[in-house]
């Protein structure tokens, strides 16, 4: 099933295009910029219905605001499943030729896969190219592919270290600023209390690639249909070496992120830190309210002392599928939701901005988080957003690659396989799949 999905998308899009010929433009032969921009304005004028597939909770408010501002537009927000499930549903709908939404939430790591599968509309002609300076660098580069703009960034996830201050204080352990200190702290905490772990990890593709990203590793190179996968660079090696220590000494809680056990660990302090995206505060407040006041935010530990390297973890964009029936109106909605008033409203509901204006606004930076003991946590997080390492790219089939992470790298967590061996296996399996899909894959 999975192996054929991309080909199926291509085929289905071709069929859809053939059917729709004469009514809408398909593919590259888009109308000139100006007329498309005008389209957006007249589409708003004419009104209509926009179906949005998204799971991001703050979009509820945006949809309501948008309908209030444009009474002729009806926004139907549908939670068609989270992450993978929604992508499968989207692929099925595109393949079936009906039922695709007008707007879909797509995580950054998945944008490439849908863009290259020609399932997404290039938004540049609708006016997206005018937002060159609107968004921060990381998310903005994530939504562009081969000169096209396939989505608008909705939020971002620059990484930071969330740590349980109470636990660190109780055991007299200093908050780590480098990954070597992190390993030391892991040992000290676990020694002081065997139930205590520095963090949880059972193998998470997103977290692993993000830490490699921060360490300076750039395993994926994509140029058209030429793909390079190489886990042999210095950054990857440094990550694997350090993380291997934590694995070997059993210093990582065997708890899967987002499970009820995980939330329990966050609230009772048995998981002491999380290196995770800046969108995490909202989840802390709703998922572990009992630990309110215990947690703080610090910059992500560094691989070299004194450095200021960062990476992104998670984050999503809003895209317009080619199968959408009202693309201009769909674009009008995502532009509203991701820029200007819509973006600001979402930030006030707890989303972490991808827009420069919101990221630099005084109100945002000076927000005191009661959950973090009154800390102005956004100062740390905004700094992290500025320090995200450049030049990172995901595979054009990262959704698939992530789905086989636990069969390959995951072995390092449950057997005597090392992380380095696991990454090798992941590389080979990803390369094999890429070749099957018609990419020329090299190192």
């Amino acid at each position: 099933m999975r192996t054929n999905s991309r080909r199926r998308i291509v085929a289905a899009v071709a069929v859809t295009c053939a059917l729709a010929l004469g009514t809408t433009a398909c593919g590259a032969s888009d109308p000139a910029d100006e007329s498309a921009v005008k389209d957006v304005a007249s589409a708003l004028e004419a009104g209509g219905k926009v179906t949005v597939w998204a799971w991001e909770p703050t979009l509820k408010k945006v949809a309501a605001d948008f309908e209030k501002k444009y009474p002729k537009v009806d926004v139907e927000l549908v939670n068609a499943g989270t992450g993978d499930k929604q992508y499968t549903a989207l692929q099925n709908a595109v393949a079936a030729g009906s039922g695709a939404p007008d707007v879909a939430q797509v995580e950054y790591y998945a944008v490439g896969q849908f863009a290259i599968g020609k399932a997404l509309e290039d938004l540049a002609p609708y006016g997206a190219s005018s937002h060159d300076q609107t968004f921060t660098t990381g998310p903005w580069s994530a939504v562009r592919y081969d000169k096209g703009i396939y989505a608008l960034p909705m939020d971002s996830g620059p990484m930071a270290l969330f740590y349980n201050k109470k636990v660190f204080d109780r055991h007299g352990v200093a908050v780590p600023t480098t990954w070597d200190e992190y390993v030391e702290a892991a040992r000290a905490l676990h020694k002081a209390d065997p139930k205590l772990y520095i963090t949880n990890d059972t193998g998470d593709a997103g977290a692993t690639t993000s830490l490699i990203w921060q360490a300076g590793g750039r395993p994926y190179k994509v140029e058209g249909t030429k793909v390079g996968i190489d886990f042999g660079d210095a950054g990857t090696a440094q990550y694997a070496r350090t993380w291997q220590k934590l694995l070997d000494e059993r210093l990582l809680a065997p708890v899967t992120s987002w499970s009820d056990e995980w939330y329990k660990g966050l609230s009772d302090g048995s998981i002491a830190t999380l290196s995770i995206g800046a969108w995490m505060p909202a989840n802390f407040a709703s998922g572990a309210p009992a630990a309110s006041g215990d947690w703080r935010v610090a910059p992500l530990p560094q691989w070299t002392r004194g450095a200021k390297a960062g990476a992104e973890n998670g984050g999503s964009s809003l895209a317009v599928p080619k199968a959408s029936k009202n693309k201009a109106l769909a674009y009008a909605f995502i532009e509203y939701a991701t820029t200007g008033a819509g973006a600001t409203a979402r930030v006030s509901e707890g989303a972490f901005p991808a827009t420069r204006a919101d990221l630099e606004s005084k109100a945002f930076l000076e927000t005191a988080f009661p959950y973090f003991g009154g800390q102005q946590a956004n100062q740390v997080l905004a700094d992290a957003a500025r320090n995200v390492g450049t030049g990172w790219s995901y595979l054009p089939y990262q959704v698939y690659a992530n789905s086989i992470f636990n069969d390959t790298v995951g072995k390092a967590y449950v057997s005597s396989t090392t992380l380095a061996q696991g990454l090798d296996a992941w590389r080979n399996a990803s390369a094999k799949y890429g070749a099957e899909q018609g990419f020329s894959v090299g190192k």
Partner: protein
């Protein structure tokens, strides 16, 4: 055949008939078999061992007890944990009450959370069960009766098709069904759940077999001679006779529709048309999203509320089912 204990001959009657069917000595293990004068008999009257009053067996009792615990434990866990708030769920022992008793609060929050989505999902489920399972039962009764009573060419072929259809799991048909409904433009509408639920090959087969046993052809012939039309015969004579089988099929299809997950999962994308199974899963997925609110307490309470109606339906219908089958089994 399952028989209702209430209908069985009572023990006292039986004892009166055969007062000394079993000798004293064989009854209670561990007791020395000494001959005693009749008046020194133990106070508890000894009963003969019948299938309804079996010889006690310690290992068998233990095994049955274990199975009982194994079956009931998840339900007990569910009931206990529906009384806790999210923090107590994390902190307290799973099989004992938490600090606060929050059952009523949990129920009212479950019903109102997310703009009352749970109520909407319950109504959807009821719709799917009423239309899907009700329709499936109706079709199975009509079809089963027709196949059992009327001779017509191609009956054997129908038999082969029905038996074949029983063997195909619904899951295997789900994807082709989705593509078909999608092609007809019915995907993401309640019809996509109701129409496939209408087909119950097993129900049809069951009704067929039942009708062949329960509706004597002599009775039908007598009615025909008296001048009754086929429809009248079906509704006034056959249908009451078929009631126990009907209830059985209704019970099976209701439980199947109520618990159906996969079919709605692939058919329905709009949460407004979710059944409870999908809705609860959507709440559970919330905990796995950035910015999503984990509501483990509401999921557990919601699961309890989802289980209760089906248990009630089962207990209510089971009585008809039991006595009916018993009646059928002794009919000559």
């Amino acid at each position: 055949m399952i028989t209702n204990p209430a209908d069985a001959p009572s023990d006292t009657v039986e004892r009166a008939v055969r007062p000394r069917a079993v000798p004293d000595t064989a009854v209670e293990p561990g007791r020395t078999p000494v001959a005693r004068p009749p008046k020194a008999r133990p106070r508890r009257p000894k009963r003969p061992h019948t299938p309804l009053n079996p010889r006690p067996s310690v290992p068998l009792t233990l095994v049955t007890g274990l199975v009982l615990v194994y079956t009931l434990l998840p339900l007990v866990w569910l009931v206990i944990n529906a009384t806790k708030n999210q923090q107590d769920l994390f902190d307290s022992f799973g099989l004992w009450l938490g600090k606060d008793f929050r059952l009523w609060d949990n129920i009212s929050r479950t019903l109102t959370y997310d703009d009352g989505a749970f109520v909407r999902w319950t109504l959807n489920t009821l719709l799917y069960v009423a239309a899907g399972a009700g329709g499936a039962t109706l079709l199975a009764v009509l079809g089963g009766y027709a196949l059992a009573v009327y001779e017509f060419p191609g009956r054997r072929a129908v038999f082969a098709v029905v038996i074949g259809a029983v063997a195909v799991p619904g899951t295997a048909l789900a994807v082709p069904t989705f593509l078909m409904f999608s092609g007809m433009g019915l995907a993401n509408t309640p019809w996509a759940v109701i129409i496939p639920s209408l087909v119950s090959p097993f129900g049809l087969y069951l009704m067929w077999v039942f009708a062949a046993e329960a509706v004597p052809s002599e009775l039908l012939e007598a009615a025909r001679i008296d001048g009754a039309g086929e429809l009248r015969i079906f509704f006034t004579i056959a249908l009451p006779l078929l009631r126990p089988g009907t209830v059985t099929v209704l019970l099976f299809s209701m439980v199947a529709t109520w618990n159906n997950y996969f079919l709605p999962l692939i058919m329905i994308k709009d949460p407004d048309w979710y059944p409870l199974t999908l809705g609860l899963n959507a709440w559970s997925a919330q905990a796995r999203t950035a910015g999503g609110e984990p509501v483990f307490d509401l999921i557990i309470t919601g699961s309890l509320l989802t289980v209760v109606p089906i248990v009630v339906i089962f207990l209510l219908l089971q009585r008809h089912w039991q006595s009916g089958l018993a009646a059928g089994s002794v009919k000559e």
